[in-house]
Amino acid sequence: MAKFEKANSIGEWLDQRLAIETLKKVMNTEYWIPKNINFLWAMGMVLAATFGILVVSGIFLLMYYKPDTALAFDSVNYTTMTEVGYGWLWRHIHGVGASLVFLVIYIHMFTGIYYGSYKRGRELIWLSGMGLFVAFSAEAFSGYMLPWGQMSYWAGMVITNLFSGGSLEAYGLVEWIRGDYVPADAFLTRFFMLHVFLLPLVIIGLIVLHFGTLRIPHVNNQDGEEFDYAEAAELYKAGKVKESKVIPFSPVFLSKDVFVMGVYFILFFYLVFYHFEFAMDPVNFDPADGLKTPAHIYPEWYFLWSYEILRPFSKDLGLVLFAISQVIFFMLPFLDRSPNVAPASRRGLFKYWFWILLIDVIVLTFMGKLPPTDALFANIGLVAAVLFFVLWIALPFITKSEKKL
């Protein structure tokens, strides 16, 4: 039996048994964040907070949801929306949250690309972050199935059909994923399981890993500057706060995060209360019908850029390019051959590469929403899709030729 002294406070009592003082130092007061950053560094905590809100609103939606093809549509659109007290609030928060979480993920990703925060020891931060992007995509797709409206059904049909692999005609695999010949009851219940249990578990695990990968290389700063964290931390602890290049995560950095979150949540709740309809496709307010296709099928806005890569090509080529576009971002730390960790503006050709990529993805997003029947837009989509791959092929060459800063 270890020896325990009598504790004089609850804090001391807990510290003796759980070492909470040490924990607080490691996680908060002596976890050092560089000073030379801007509001874009707050996106991580904004995402964590949005995920928290999605979990809470999801718990309340779960209370009345019925994962059954005969009952699901009414349990959402009738019971939750009209009978449950404030049920509409949880649903609008959940829908708006799912949309905004992708907006912030994209900002977070492109911030990382701009400042080179994915290399020289930070590869795992990038890879675990991309893992989160994929897990969130699967979470969004599985959640989209649950109201069992027309868009749920047909999105489920089209996306699971992708697994037939075009000319490989692997319909057995498609039927295995669905548990039926078409999306039906078995399909709805398994996607329900994925959405409310397995995928959130994976996401939480990946968030912990993502935080863990930050620990040793530390967060990047606006100049990609390398410095001695131990030395900077000593300065801060010695009271030379001005001279030190770092601040503690909590309470100093977190208070900046909270300010950005405040601005973000004004937008968030403005959308929840006044413009929730952007996250609620009207077509999905028709119950699922396997014998009637909606006139124009399109995914939610955050999947449009990769959907547009699928469209302009023949079926097989489209599928292959779509598959590549889904994983190519994982390769970024290895395709960038430059030794420089610096903002794109100081990296020669990479500056243009970054902005062209960003604009290209935005163009793909807009073209993905338009019906493909218009020849002009179809051609713009084709050019943008080809440009996307040209950029990735060019990346190793233009970064290799980059001058060392």
Partner: protein, 170 residues
């Protein structure tokens, strides 16, 4: 730690690892099987269609395995095709009514004898051949068996197998 002690601990570790791997493989198989379509789903995979009541050039849409099935009795002025289901002297076009591009349901235009897909503008003729737009292949023919004047969908009869062997459908 003595060499002997380490060796004995290693053995326990390896024994545990071996049995865990074995159990893991078994569990993976069980997991795969749990995702398989249920026997009740498989059993419901047959539909019978009575062809005797069909009218010429009028499309009727049946449901088989949750998918729409086109049944179209051809009139005398419509071209015969090796993909036709022949019952007595009547020719029928039978296919899964999902566009082979991305799975939307095409609509039948009786005056032009054509199927038009609203999603991406694909067109098929009355025998299901793709004649315009992005569809990469003809409308698929479901496995069928002719039984008098009824058609059993989901069971592969000799006529279907012949079409399959000839590469007329997948």
């Amino acid at each position: 730690m003595g060499k002997d002690v380490k060796g004995r601990r290693d053995f326990i570790g390896m024994a545990l690892g071996g049995f865990t791997a074995l159990g893991g493989i078994g569990a993976l198989y069980a997991m795969k099987r749990s995702w398989d379509p249920l026997p009740s789903v498989k059993a419901a995979g047959f539909t019978t269609v009575d062809l005797s009541a069909a009218e010429e050039n009028v499309l009727s849409v049946e449901k088989w395995r949750g998918k729409p099935i086109f049944v179209l009795k051809k009139s005398a002025d419509m071209k015969k095709d090796p993909r036709d289901v022949v019952v007595g002297s009547d020719h029928f076009h039978v296919s899964i009514g999902l566009c082979t591009h991305l799975g939307c349901i095409p609509a039948y235009k009786p005056t032009d004898h054509k199927f038009l897909c609203a999603c991406h503008g694909g067109e098929f003729d009355a025998s299901g051949h793709e004649i315009f737009g992005p569809p990469p292949s003809p409308l698929e023919i479901p496995p069928f068996k002719i039984d008098g004047t009824t058609l059993v969908l989901g069971e592969a009869g000799p006529e279907y197998k012949k079409m399959l062997d000839a590469g007329l459908t997948v």
